[in-house]
């Protein structure tokens, strides 16, 4: 297994020397995936909360659909967004195909159901506790949603991390809508796929270790934020 040893050493040296091509790829990965999670959070968390507390016809099927969409194959999302953004597609005139924005759109679509489904779960758990109190205060749902989201914030951090993990690790969608263009749309995962294609297995794996280190770092950061902001003794 000297391939793995070699890969670890290469990963370490890339990190230590801050290899400029690596830095560009890492930054783009972070930009795309964080941007996607941000959009998914804004569009997803309130919807999740509404699904948790409001009762309207068709709510149950919606809940089931969002739960199911958590397992959406990235390559299918990529294909869908490609067809939309292609010059021959309905959004073709925007000229977004093969740009980082197209990648953000695809990953946001991928992460959105995760945010909706998991934040619904988190808010529903709280709602069981809060329902009586909020109702007795005469709070309507548009008052309850922000309150519940705020009080579920610690759980929501975990939700966003799950979404981020999905986004940063996927290769199928960004490969199709980004095109893996050197210096423009090449991210960590598409680099790993390309280096594997070239038979540079050790280098590909080294990139993988860098990706892993990045994800661990981000999770550690989120964990610290959670610890710091969580009131003790609850």
């Amino acid at each position: 297994m000297n391939d793995i040893g070699l890969a670890l050493r290469q990963a370490l040296s890339m990190l230590v020397t801050l290899d400029p091509s690596l830095v560009g790829v890492v930054l783009l990965s972070l930009q795309v995936s964080l941007g996607a999670v941000l959009i998914a959070a804004i569009a997803g968390a309130p919807l999740g909360a509404v699904l948790a507390i409001c009762h309207f016809p068709g709510r149950r099927p919606l809940v089931v659909i969002f739960n199911a969409l958590m397992g959406l194959p990235p390559v299918m999302v990529g294909l869908f967004v490609y067809v939309l953004l292609s010059r021959a597609g309905p959004l073709g005139p925007l000229g977004l195909l093969f740009t980082p924005r197209a990648m953000v759109i695809a990953q946001a679509l991928l992460v959105w159901p995760i945010v909706v489904a998991l934040s619904r779960q988190a808010v529903e758990d709280l709602w069981i506790e809060y329902a009586e109190a909020l109702r007795s205060l005469g709070a309507r749902w548009w008052h309850a949603v922000p309150t519940l989201l705020w009080d579920a914030r610690h759980a929501l951090i975990t939700v966003l991390l799950a979404g981020f993990g999905r986004a940063i690790a996927e290769v199928g969608a960004v490969m199709i809508v980004g095109g893996n263009i050197d210096g423009v749309t090449r991210v960590m995962t598409t680099s790993i796929a390309l280096e594997t294609s070239k038979g540079n297995l050790a280098f590909a794996m080294a990139l993988g270790f860098v990706l892993l280190a990045l994800v661990v770092l981000l999770n550690a950061l989120a964990f610290t934020i959670r610890q710091r902001t969580m009131p003790h003794g609850t």
């Binding site: 964080l34 010059r87 050197d182 294609s197 950061l221």
Partner: protein, 287 residues
């Protein structure tokens, strides 16, 4: 229920919020106009063989230095590259499957095709050469022997130029591969590199382009078992996607790229590209 907000908690929370906002801002800010700013760029749909052999990394910086135009390469199989052109998602296509290129022209997606360069396909296989292809003389005979031995053969199976060439060779060998295929014939549906990785892992034969082979780093027990047959010539042609069909095509920049690639300067740059002293592509533009 949440505890009452206390001083330190608030402070930590403020720090957390500021951190998150800063991270997100840093993440999103660069997108704004930057992605669109370099308007002098074209999208080139090309093959995995040209990208993975490292040719573009050698070629494109030189083109940019002389013209200021950024060429963005989307490397896929020839079939998919032509489809990108058909949908208007590329400005230029550089591919290697003449019959498919002629169809593209006939459909009106381009008006002219130019030869750019060539190299050759090679038959790669396990060092021990169990199907005795090295002594076959012709590639057709080698294919017949692989078929007879039913030794593992990896097919690209992805409508790429190399896949099309492989299918033509089976036909020339008098073998109906749809009939003859069995467990020995592995239709992998992958690019050249992944197909080489698979062949290396299972000691299979496969047809490869020389450029990718020379640049490939995970050969394990594989070697070239047959080369030099005239049938193995691998020609690359370039076409500008027809601006009359796809009005947003950057016609001027695309033409500039094609002209440069076929000029003495561009052809010299192609000829200069070597890996470990070996030339990968041979210029062949008509002067």
């Amino acid at each position: 229920m949440s505890a009452p907000m206390q001083g330190p908690v608030m402070r930590h929370l403020a720090v957390a919020v500021v951190t998150v906002v800063a991270v997100v801002a840093a993440a999103v800010a660069p997108f704004a106009p930057a992605a669109q700013a370099q308007s002098r760029s074209i999208v080139l749909a090309s093959t995995t063989s040209t990208e993975q052999s490292g040719l573009f990394a050698h070629l494109l910086p030189r083109f940019r230095a002389s013209t200021g135009i950024d060429v963005r390469v989307v490397a896929v199989g020839t079939g998919q590259a032509l489809d990108l052109g058909r949908r208007g998602d590329a400005d230029v296509v550089l591919v290697h499957d003449r019959p498919a290129e002629d169809r593209f022209l006939a459909e009106g997606h381009a008006t002219r095709r130019l030869d750019v360069m060539y190299n050759d396909f090679i038959l790669v296989g396990p060092s021990a050469d169990p199907a005795r292809t090295s002594s076959a003389g012709t590639v057709m005979e080698a294919f017949r022997r692989i078929r007879q031995a039913e030794h593992a053969f990896v097919s690209r199976g992805d409508r790429s130029g190399t896949h099309a060439a492989e299918l033509r060779l089976w036909e020339l060998a008098g073998i109906d591969i749809q009939q003859a295929r069995g467990a020995w014939y592995r239709d992998t549906g992958t690019g050249m590199g992944p197909a080489l990785n698979i062949a290396a892992a299972m000691d299979a034969y496969l047809l490869a382009d020389r450029g990718t082979w020379i640049a490939f780093r995970n050969r394990q027990g594989l070697r070239i078992v047959l080369e030099g047959d005239a049938r193995l010539k691998n020609r690359y042609g370039i076409m500008r996607v027809n601006p009359a069909r796809h009005p947003h095509v950057k016609a001027l920049e695309a033409q500039q790229f094609i002209d440069w690639l076929c000029s003495d300067a561009g052809q010299r740059v192609i000829a200069d590209y070597r890996i470990e002293g070996e030339q990968l592509f041979f210029p062949e533009a008509a002067r």
